[in-house]
């Protein structure tokens, strides 16, 4: 039964993911810049604890924050989630409007090769996301020699992003040390559109669609160490990862469409996009079985980013550069009935809380960094199906500033994640 549910889950989510990823245009205007708004989703557990989890251990989730954590697996697990985001945008103290969009967080599968020693996992999740749409009405002189004005609407939009498909493995080298390796295939399409519609048939409405296709391979190595010397029942774990810099090969196509919808002109250009080295460190502390605390830091050296393609906020021909991204987060988890499987349902719910600060790698204004700060929370509810949890998470935060002509996003995200667990590859006992 669980296998059927899990497979159904995958069959439905994967196509839906790709469709949604292409179609949305109602996210933050900040997603317009660079390669889009940086995304990271490791597990619904870490999502509710501030978004880190590089040192998190546990068998309830397949933790893709650190490939070394894949050594923890006992059950085969399928996980996936869907999130809904509402953003209120304000500028210079005035609320401008509200946009809302939904997307799938990730689709993941993990299973043990050697129970609680060596594990393998596959994860498909967004790496960046572009999702915005803006209309700007204005007017223009129709003919400077004969006068007259014509109304027009300038339309800007963007969608898509880069996806990450990871194949990861983790191995427990010793009771205290785990190591892991993840091969990450980054690929995706970023679409930008710019057009003008005139309130007159004398003008040709045109839209230019720029489509940037990128793909490339990178790798992440991770390690986790359980510190010795703590009393029984307590644990202190440190973990870290390093993601290698990589070059994505890209092709940009530019197509012009007219008001009748036909392609009139198109050009293509090829080039490279170089992504930077990234590292992350985390610590997890478990004073007792019911409580877990984590603190994490991740760094991406986007100042070394290079692209042959012009991107919003980045000029390939000038010396413009991105900021380094620094993300700090911390969180706590409380399982009232940890270790008591027959406790009441309410006691078996897990509670999570987290905070984070995320300085974006790209800003529309070179003199102003874009920072997101937020608090997260979540409930992990056991289902009637053994080994399966339903997680409800929330993320409330703000991004940007209203100074220097920028905008401030106040956002709230709700997410629903399902985490199936089952034994698939057990050997049948002989006799």
């Amino acid at each position: 039964m669980q296998r059927i549910l899990a497979l159904t889950f995958l069959v439905v989510l994967l196509p839906a993911y790709s469709i949604l990823a292409q179609s949305q245009k109602d996210g933050s205007i900040y997603s317009r810049f660079g390669l889009g708004e940086r995304q990271q989703f490791f597990t619904s557990r870490s999502q509710a604890m501030g978004g880190g989890g590089y040192a998190l251990a546990g068998i309830r989730y397949t933790n893709f924050a650190n490939p070394a954590a894949l050594s923890d697996q006992i059950l085969t697990r399928f996980a996936g989630g869907f999130s809904f985001e509402s953003i209120k945008v304000s500028a210079e103290g005035f609320e401008q409007g509200t946009v809302a969009s939904g997307t799938l967080s990730a689709v993941q599968i993990g299973f043990p090769l050697i129970t609680n020693k060596t594990g393998l996992g596959i994860s498909f999740s967004p790496y960046t996301r572009v999702s915005y749409r803006v209309d700007s009405p204005s007017s223009i002189i129709s003919d400077p020699e004969n006068g007259g004005e014509t109304a027009l609407i300038s339309r800007f939009g963007g969608s898509g992003g880069i996806q990450k498909l990871s194949l990861a493995t983790g191995h427990r080298v010793s009771p205290r040390i785990s190591l892991g390796l993840s091969l990450d295939y980054l690929f995706g399409i970023i679409e930008e559109s710019q057009g003008s519609s005139f309130n007159s048939t004398l003008f040709v409405d045109r839209t230019v669609e720029k489509t940037l296709r990128l793909r490339g391979l990178t790798a992440t190595v991770g390690g986790r160490y359980v510190l010795p010397g703590l009393p029984t029942g307590k644990a202190l774990v440190i973990g870290g990862t390093i993601s290698l810099p990589t070059t994505l090969v890209g092709k940009r196509a530019l197509a012009l469409t007219t008001s009748v919808g036909s392609d009139t002109l198109s050009t293509t250009a090829s080039g490279d996009v170089k992504l930077p080295l990234a590292w992350a460190l985390g610590v997890a502390y478990q004073p007792e079985a019911r409580w877990t605390f984590i603190a994490d830091a991740s760094y991406e050296g986007w100042s070394s980013f290079e692209s042959d393609f012009d991107l919003p906020g980045y000029s390939a021909s000038s010396n413009s550069e991105f900021d380094n991204r620094l993300r700090l987060s911390a969180g706590a988890e409380f399982w009232p009935a940890s270790g008591r499987p027959f406790a009441s349902y309410g006691s078996r719910i897990g509670y999570r809380l987290g905070v984070y600060s995320d300085q974006s790698y790209v800003s529309p204004d070179a003199d102003e960094s874009i920072r997101s700060v937020g608090i997260t929370g979540g409930l992990s509810m056991p289902s009637l199906i053994r080994g399966t949890n339903i997680d409800l998470n929330i993320d409330i935060g703000r991004r940007g500033t209203t100074s220097n002509g920028l905008v401030k996003d106040r956002y709230i995200r709700f997410s629903l994640n399902i985490n199936f667990g089952d034994r698939w590859f057990d050997r049948q006992p002989l006799g």
Binding site: I29, R32, A91, Q96, Y132, V134, D135, S136, I140, R206
Partner: protein
């Protein structure tokens, strides 16, 4: 899943900082020059040609113009037995004068020559020379519109009796050439009403209608003006015009509208009374590719009451869009007078030592790409 209560202007400030608004610029022509390419003056009624021109005129503006017209005929119907059985004893030529350019106060004397060689009218340009044969007759025609009938000499009738009655008349007869020897006007011999008639006695009369025409013309220009260039029909060359579409003020952009506008100069005060100048009704603009052969007609327009010409359509806009994105083989634009006007009239296009507002110009509405 998406939604928005008011997406207008949500974050527009950040987009505006990255982009530029739609704008209108005026690009003055970087060059306007005679292209030395003779006008197409050959054709038939179905190809759009209206007439052949013959005459000579000293124009106060355009200079000395001379036109030699060629006319060829085809049998209007099957010959009757009575016509074929008797020799032709009489023939005349009715010329329907439907166009007069020049001094209408004095007649024009034309010499009519036999054309001995087959010639092609289609797409034949005014600077083409077609050889002529013996002089058939000389006639003097008043420089006014109307029919003018000349009787062909008996010697010619006798010499061409066999051909006139032959079933291969179209192949064997190549028409007449009309060349002026005096007068100060160019006359047009139109398709409608022009015919060659032949009679046999006591038999029948057969009519041969005008089948194709061609005008070979030349012009010795008067002193060139520094203010305008002539766009002239018939004798005529087109005018090449270019605009600086690859300038910094016109960056890579979405092109929404392009107007090409020119001003003409009213020169009517320079002409004496009695000098007839038929109005040039249509002016065309076409795109010339860099192979110098491929041409795309943009539009043919009339002169506005203020003397301006404005070309404004999506073909023009699309061509400039292609140029802007470096996806075009455009070499230049070409102004021309449509061949179906079949005259020698002209327009004086302002250029040179005139204010920049009066130069040929392209008015471009575009949105810069970023």
């Amino acid at each position: 899943m998406t939604g928005c209560d008011d997406r207008t202007n949500v974050g527009i400030g950040l987009v505006d900082a990255q982009t530029e608004e739609s704008k209108v610029i005026t690009l003055s022509a970087s060059s306007l020059q005679d292209n030395g390419l003779g006008d197409v003056t050959g054709g038939n009624a179905s190809s759009g040609a209206s007439r052949a021109l013959a005459g000579v005129v000293d124009d106060p503006v355009a200079g000395h113009m001379e036109a030699v017209g060629l006319l060829d005929f085809v049998a209007s119907s099957q010959f009757g037995t009575s016509f074929l059985s008797q020799p032709v004893t009489f023939a005349d030529l009715t010329m329907s004068i439907d166009y007069v350019y020049g001094d209408t106060t004095q007649p024009v004397t034309l010499e009519m020559y036999q054309v001995n060689e087959s010639w092609i009218s289609a797409f034949t340009r005014a600077d083409t020379t077609i050889g002529t044969g013996a002089l058939v007759l000389t006639t003097t025609i008043p420089a006014v519109e109307g029919d003018h009938v000349v009787t062909l000499p008996a010697e010619w009738v006798s010499a061409f009796d066999g051909i006139l009655r032959s079933s291969t008349f179209t192949d064997d007869f190549h028409g007449f050439a009309l060349r002026a020897t005096s007068g100060n006007a160019i006359l047009g011999v139109g398709f409608s009403g022009t015919s060659l008639r032949a009679s046999s006695t006591p038999g029948d009369t057969v009519s041969f209608s005008l089948s194709k025409v061609f005008t070979s013309s030349s012009r010795i220009p008067s002193s060139a003006s520094s203010e305008y260039l002539l766009l002239q029909d018939g004798a005529a060359n087109g005018l090449d015009v270019s605009f600086p579409f690859l300038s910094e003020e016109f960056p890579e952009a979405l092109v929404h509208r392009v107007l090409v506008r020119l001003n003409t100069v009213d020169l009517s005060d320079l002409y004496p009374s009695g000098f007839n100048r038929p109005v040039v009704s249509l002016i065309g603009l076409r795109v010339v590719a860099d192979d110098d052969v491929t041409r795309l007609v943009v539009e043919e327009v009339g002169v506005a009451s203020d003397g301006s010409l404005t070309f404004d359509n999506t073909i023009l806009t699309n061509v400039v869009q292609s140029v802007n994105l470096d996806k075009s083989s455009l070499d230049r634009f070409e102004l021309y007078l449509p061949s179906n006007q079949s005259g020698v009239g002209f327009l004086a296009i302002q250029f040179g030592a005139i204010s920049s507002e009066s130069l040929p110009r392209a008015i471009v509405t575009f949105t810069p790409l970023k």
